[in-house]
Symmetry: C2
């Protein structure tokens, strides 16, 4: 979502730049490799920096720090620093972050319900499409 665009459509009649469409911006954020995963990890309980790293073993420290910063800038998570030595930083969900997770609920259910069928279709891709058409 870095390229300049000039499309006049997006969603629900959104008629501005593609890059200013709210839905696009949200998907750009949670659609990346780590944001959603972090949000869902923090849903259960606040975590410290390295605890998050352990909960998501394959994230690099760079992406962990960067993604957390972005999520905080968006007000989706909070960050609390204990000025001890060594320092201890804790992250947790904000109300806004929680509301996002709630809004994701139906999508999550859909994903779990449809995943097997989609994977089956994808496997025999190239053949006829199996989905029932809305229009002929």
């Amino acid at each position: 979502m870095t390229t300049k665009t000039s499309a006049a459509v997006c969603i629900d009649g959104w008629s501005g730049d593609l890059d200013t469409c709210p839905v696009r911006q949200v998907l750009d954020r949670i659609g990346d490799r780590w944001s959603l995963l972090l949000l869902l990890t923090l849903k259960d309980a606040p975590h410290r920096f390295n605890a998050l790293g352990r909960a998501i073993p394959d994230i690099s420290r760079r992406m962990l720090a960067g993604t957390l910063k972005t999520l905080e800038a968006d007000g989706l998570i909070w960050r609390s620093v204990e000025a001890t030595t060594p320092p201890s930083v804790t992250y947790g969900l904000t109300a806004r972050g929680l509301s996002l997770i709630m809004a994701l609920g139906p999508l999550v259910e859909w994903a779990f319900a449809q995943a097997p069928a989609i994977l089956a279709d994808r496997r025999r891709a190239g053949g006829a499409v199996s989905g029932v058409a809305i229009a002929p």
Copy 2:
């Protein structure tokens, strides 16, 4: 989502590979630059190939063709070929594609409702986080 992972967490206690998590797969698909846009364009009515290109001016033919193929392989859209000369190919939503759009509804509403506040927070990023914390 091309990198091999071995994480043991994902969503709702999903305990397989990150890459096999249904929600990750769905987000990988609709989170890309064009899929959701195409789905929403097709929601209103079926479109022909070049009509889609005109509805979304800044998509390249390569990405248009590629994204359509993937969406079809996942059974989210159907593809109908008229063997005329010149050929005419029409795309439209399947029932599954429509159900995905429905599942996206709450997220879309959330995005529109939260976008202004998020952008405001993002602008003065670096300052204190404004979201109300769930936990202190």
